[in-house]
Assembly symmetry: C2
Homo-oligomer: 335 residues x 2
């Protein structure tokens, strides 16, 4: 039976159909397929994600949650999951824990099992390898979130750190939430140094600390960049994962951003832009600035990709082969 | 006269000789040459840095100073320069200020002029463009520090931020100093997330804050990774740029690290490793993982480069041309 299922899943279209039905083994198999760098697996992964992209869930929402270690981010994720489950939403989690890359997801799973001893089939957790010293995301995180998006109402991508991981997660999430702990005038100071623009929602954790947490929230609000008319103004919320205070407000703030994105087609635009940039970034990693130049330059390529209804893995494979053949042609000798 | 000098400097060897004599116009011209990406300029820059590498100053020391905005880093640099000048050392500064990339160096210059209204020809300041949202260093910072190293006893590379800029600066500095402000339990927390290994010296600024600064210094000391026998154990110092307290202790800590590096040839090893990695990083940016593979892979290339007495710009140009010709050869078809 298991064997038959596994063989069946060699057919990526059958695998996609099982993912949409939220078959846990199928989701695990699909995520492993994305992680597999062998050429044959890449072809199947392209077909899989292409088919999944054709049927997104109407309320699907990819939420990036990031914050420094010790900010209470992971406990907060668990509390949010409780809120969403209470509303009948299914949840997929991709979690990075650089201090223990193999067990990050397992730890979160343990926490959830403690909360719901009967288990919960509507929640799926997978750990992600972190990349580099700053907790950045691996290239596979993007396509993995697309797989999760086809199966669950909410997909949480949880990363650790401030800086690179925050930028990485904002490049694949619909909504980016940054968790900040109170008493951190210098964190606010640090955020001001350039990444204050990134988060759509801030969660000041440990609201049970009272005045200290409120002061931090105020500092954050004051440090927010001015937004033009029609742009999203970041929401700052106060939460306490321990007592549960503010967690549903945070869930509402995340929903509000999702609703804002959906108005006027912004959600579709954002996802398309993320996928186009993902392709460009992958090509740059493999072929460098020289390879991008041979394709006519980043700007032209991005414009071209943004006009398409994307199937990012397939398009990436196609462009890879185009670069490889261009690199061998003598035309346009560089200096 | 000026015209004659400029024409003369078209000869990169004459320019190198003038740099070593600390001719300010020559240093400025040499730094501009490094910044110039045109092929003809690249050839001259290769010759320039090759000749400069042949004659390093006996006490030359490249010091990276980094820390979040507001940590008092820039004021501290000025105070350190005062100490070094009092000892008769010449100082070159490369400074990044992401919030005002054009005036970063100018601001520091203004501060120094306030301190020494008569001017000081033995101090030279140049601002650096920052790269990306996280205050990282541009690729030219490495070769620029080599030019400065041939002219000055101490070269300070000042960057802003925690994370990327700290890693970038540690990849070109002999000694990396991280400035931390007191009252920042979460900064210590953040440093713990992976970059605690990077700095050789910590400077807890604003020592005039008393107990708060001392507690931060203690937290840092406790968070330091255990070092094996024979490895450098990071020094934590308390400084107040405002009152001048601790600045000469910091200067001694930086000297101590320089002396430790020099013992047993570590300084030479470190500079060679930095230059080899610089070459590899540039090649990866231009040609991607695919280009590096065509050169036989990163590991083999690094081993090869580490065996050489490097002239990094010339070697980089040579390897660029090797990749370009390999890319055009059909051998070793990739998938």
């Amino acid at each position: 039976m298991i064997r038959a299922a596994l063989e069946n899943w060699l057919d990526p279209e059958a695998l996609a159909d099982a993912v949409v039905l939220r078959d846990r083994a199928a989701i695990a198999a699909a995520l492993n397929l994305i992680d597999d760098r062998r050429p044959e697996a890449r072809t199947r992964a392209s077909i899989l994600t292409g088919r999944l992209a054709a049927r997104p869930s109407a309320r699907a929402h990819v939420i990036g949650i990031t914050g420094p270690p010790g900010s209470g981010k992971s406990t907060l994720s668990s509390s949010l999951i409780e809120v969403w489950r209470g509303e009948g939403r299914t949840v997929g989690v991709l979690a990075v824990d650089p201090s223990s890359p193999r067990t990050g997801g397992a730890l979160l799973g343990d926490r959830l099992r403690m909360l719901r001893p009967d288990g919960d089939d509507a929640v799926f957790i997978r750990s992600l390898a972190s990349r580099g010293e700053l907790g950045g995301l691996s290239p596979e995180a993007g396509p993995m979130s697309l797989v999760m998006l086809a199966a669950f109402d909410v997909v949480v991508v949880e990363t650790v750190g401030i800086g690179q991981s925050e930028i990485d997660v904002s490049e694949l999430a619909d909504t980016t939430c940054c968790v900040v702990q109170p008493a951190s005038g210098d964190t606010v100071q640090f955020l001001k140094s350039g990444i204050m623009e990134v988060p759509d929602v801030f969660a000041v954790s440990k609201a049970d600390l009272g005045a200290l947490a409120e002061r931090t929230a105020l500092e954050l609000k004051e440090a927010l960049p001015r937004r033009a008319e029609g742009e999203w103004a970041a929401i700052v919320t106060l939460v306490s994962a321990r007592s549960g205070t503010g967690v549903s407000d945070l869930a509402r703030a995340l929903d509000a951003h999702r609703a804002w994105l959906e108005a006027g087609g912004r959600l579709d635009d954002r996802r398309r832009r993320h996928q186009a940039r993902w392709i460009l970034k992958r090509l740059r990693e493999e072929f460098g600035a020289h390879g991008i130049d041979r394709l006519g330059g980043a700007e032209g390529l991005l414009t071209e990709l943004l006009r398409e209804r994307l199937a990012p893995l397939a398009r990436h494979e196609e462009l890879r082969h185009r670069v490889l053949s261009l690199l061998r042609s003598p035309e346009g000798e560089p200096t």
